[in-house]
Symmetry: C2
Subunit: 501 residues, 2 copies
């Protein structure tokens, strides 16, 4: 397995399907297949349907989410089929009265189109992150897998942008594999964290698979096993030039720090120079107070350039407080649980909703549909849609527009209005625009390859830089304007009046 | 793949190692291998170490966690090795100065012992859920993988017991695959939910793999695509005897319910009898009010036995309120996001701490070690420990004791005292006791097989029944007494005085 690698057959190997042992068809909620059965039974499998994957509310009290997880989405779509064992299992359930349906399923692969926002893109509520266009049974069958693939990585990437922002330029390393919700989740969290701006990960398998920078030093067990001073010395003998010592096993100021300084001295004497990279890690206690005391004592001992790494249940709020309010002395942060679980919104809460369908199979003429609700936020946007982001003359993102894919190209200057508070209007005189949905899959095959993680991280950085601080701040950020095009808005109003009766 | 199956080689195939393509050795935080390098460099790989996996505080404001995830722990331990590609990757990092270390790693497999609480056991803070005894490098190297394997499933199983308790006998189905944090996490969540008492899962792959009951009906898209009435009819033609209709696509009382009643009538006419199983699902809106109105109108239409299933961002608190405070009419619940993310404590927060180590390799004489902290809760318990649960004459669990493994067998009557508030004492006059740690792995091979999920679910039911309602209630439950044995307590006091200087 290589950096951009991973093992999805068809997409990597240029159109040649690699038969894998297990199909992904059963990674589905049962209702997707009972509905598929009902469609099949009535000969309704061929009309194409267009589904949008989006979230209704942004995570963590902010306004945006960072798109991630497309690697998993592609792998899932490539694996979406029903192998013999899958078919046997479905037959054994006794749920599907006509066995010919299972023969139909056996021949299914995903042959549709997917458009997606590239990884690292900032997305806002109700904007399609992915748009799936496929024959009804296929578009239906991939719902669970796509939602699962994209939600958690996007939540983690978003959390990472917040934590990295709070760290104000100090590197943040993702440390959370042990607390991540599964093996896959740990790998996804490491990858998404780096897309969101983290400098690296502690998890070797993720570093290898995604070409990330692995990071790590020592744990308490080593010092409990051999004693603190001897444990430090053993580590210094092994890694004299990458010497980060964990100082809180017993008592930071009375034991850990003096022992660390002693070993820094011994190592400096042995090398005839300072270690190339050295410092301490504090993993418990009052981090701000301890870090300030440690910095002062390190400086007094002649080790002013020792790096201080802080870890211990950190998140964006704790880091912001440590730096801004408490004057903590920190050169780097390690963040585990709160990042690798996307704490506060482990699920992005993304949904997959029908936007349009063909009435005549193969006609290419799609009719918009809508889901109503007493809760306005749950009313869907109908039609085959795309998303355009407008930038002003300074390159600042000023408004997004959700629009129908067949509208004439956007142009500036334009006056936009808020789809809910229609009296709120905003004129953009000049600038550029960018279509956010890009072809990802065509007729079941990946378009190009997925960019490497570093490119997604770079896109995320560029995107963040195009928004104002007011849009991005951690607490009560200023809302960003997401518009519906006039045509889409009119179509939505029409369907709200006429649907469901 | 079969029910109890899954693909871990060595453990299933009775001692014969199956070489799998990818080793799990790199599913490790880098620091595990830098420490291993330091140990290896000084010839310290052979002393055996004893690590405890435990949590410091129970999740969700309760006192217990339900053990789950041993399937993943076994699979990880079986796969723990470094294949050629793993070694190449480690060499490429340039982290390990002496390449002979990588040759040493290449020969490593997990050859240690693991004792564990069986899945479904209720565990309390600081009790070892797993105890690992292995040569130092092996015991160290499996830390990340074991914590990752056990934490999330145990959190989900615990959440499930709470939700099932709130449902007061009504079946709860796990619906959360789409919101689970990864593919693996979705499978683990379904399995753990059933261990915790759920009746089934919507996720087919989990149902197949773990022999669970799959469950599901229809989604909004079907009704948006074909119209609500025609969508209901299509579904009724396909599944006349398992006819659960989703009534909230447009308007429950004005549209969904009347259409459902119409289709129940048509289906009853067509069959010449009622459908065997039928009802409605409400997925949005005021669930209590809507469910009562629906029950009344269904009864008035002659469908009093229609089942009402409620779904929509439910958890134990919402369900308890729906039933107890609001008089909701519900025959079943589907719970998704909040269950499949273990909402509120996605990570169990479990840790893996050194308890004891051999000073002389192979001597079998283990010396207890301790980690100190200013925070009393973070001070570890030293030694090779086990956990005994004492039941009174009525079969009620009354106290757990964490004790040294080589103490003489427990006996009743006994007076216990609280390890923190030592003035709190409790006498257990008669009853029985149970050792909670059971052999899981010996010399790297699984002892027996893992019991099927149904057995773990049964154990969980039995365990729950042995605790009082006061210990289990959702809000502010009464604490359960977890004692340290006199010998362990004395040893801990001694090490607290003498360690780390």
């Amino acid at each position: 397995m290589t950096a951009s690698g991973a093992a999805w057959g068809r997409f990597l190997w240029g159109g040649v399907r690699v038969i894998s042992s297990g199909g992904e068809g059963l990674f589905a909620d049962l209702y997707l297949l009972t509905m598929a059965y009902a469609y099949w039974r009535e000969g309704k499998t061929q009309p194409r349907a267009v589904f949008d994957l989006f979230f209704r509310g942004a995570p963590f009290g902010g306004h945006y989410a960072v798109v991630a997880g497309l690697d998993r989405a592609l792998r899932f779509l490539d694996g979406w089929r029903f192998g013999p064992a899958d078919i046997d299992y479905l037959a054994s359930l006794g749920v599907f009265p006509d066995p010919a349906f299972l023969e139909f399923l056996r021949d299914q692969t995903f042959a549709g189109d997917v458009d997606a926002m590239p990884e690292g893109t900032l997305a806002f509520a109700n904007e399609p992150l992915l748009r799936v266009t496929a024959p009804l049974v296929q578009a239906t069958g991939v719902e669970t897998g796509l939602l699962n693939a994209v939600g958690f990585p996007s939540a983690v990437a978003t959390k990472a942008t917040r934590i990295v922002r709070a760290a104000e330029g100090r590197p943040v390393v993702e440390f959370g594999a042990r607390r991540a919700p599964a093996r896959d989740a740990a790998l996804a969290a490491a990858r998404a964290s780096v897309i969101g701006g983290c400098a690296g990960t502690s998890l070797l398998e993720a570093a290898r698979r995604y070409d990330l920078t692995p990071s790590g030093t020592q744990a308490h067990a080593m010092l409990m096993m051999f004693g603190e001073l001897e444990g430090f010395r053993m580590y210094a003998r092994a890694f004299p030039d990458n010497l980060v010592l964990l100082v809180d096993t017993y008592n930071v100021l009375r034991s850990g720090l003096p022992h660390a300084i002693q070993v820094f001295r011994e190592t400096t004497d042995r090398l005839g120079r300072r270690p190339r990279s050295y410092g301490i890690r504090i993993d418990s206690g009052d981090l701000a107070w301890l870090s300030k005391r440690c910095r002062a004592e390190l400086a007094a001992a002649g080790f002013a350039d020792a790096r201080i790494t802080l870890t211990s249940d950190l998140d964006e709020y704790v880091i912001a407080s440590l730096i801004r309010e408490q004057g903590a002395q920190a050169d780097a942060f390690g963040v585990g649980t709160k990042l690798a679980t996307a704490d506060g919104q482990t699920s992005l809460g993304n949904v997959y909703k029908l936007g349009a369908c063909e009435r005549v199979p193969g006609s290419g003429r799609f009719e918009g549909v809508i889901k109503l609700s007493e809760n306005r936020a749950k009313i869907t946007n109908p039609g085959v849609k795309t998303v355009v982001r407008f930038y002003d003359g300074d390159g600042r993102a000023v408004v997004d527009e959700i629009r129908l894919a067949d509208e004439s190209p956007p142009a500036l200057p334009r006056e936009f209005f808020d789809p809910v508070d229609t009296w709120k209007r905003k004129t953009v005189p000049a600038g550029r625009w960018e279509g956010l949905l890009q072809p990802l899959v065509r007729a079941g095959c990946a378009v190009g390859g997925l960019p490497p993680v570093a490119a997604a991280a770079e896109r995320c950085r560029t995107q963040l830089a195009s928004f104002s601080d007011e849009n991005l701040r951690l607490l009560n950020p200023h809302g960003y304007h997401v518009d519906l095009s006039e045509r889409l808005w009119q179509e939505k109003q029409r369907l709200m009046r006429t649907s469901g009766t």
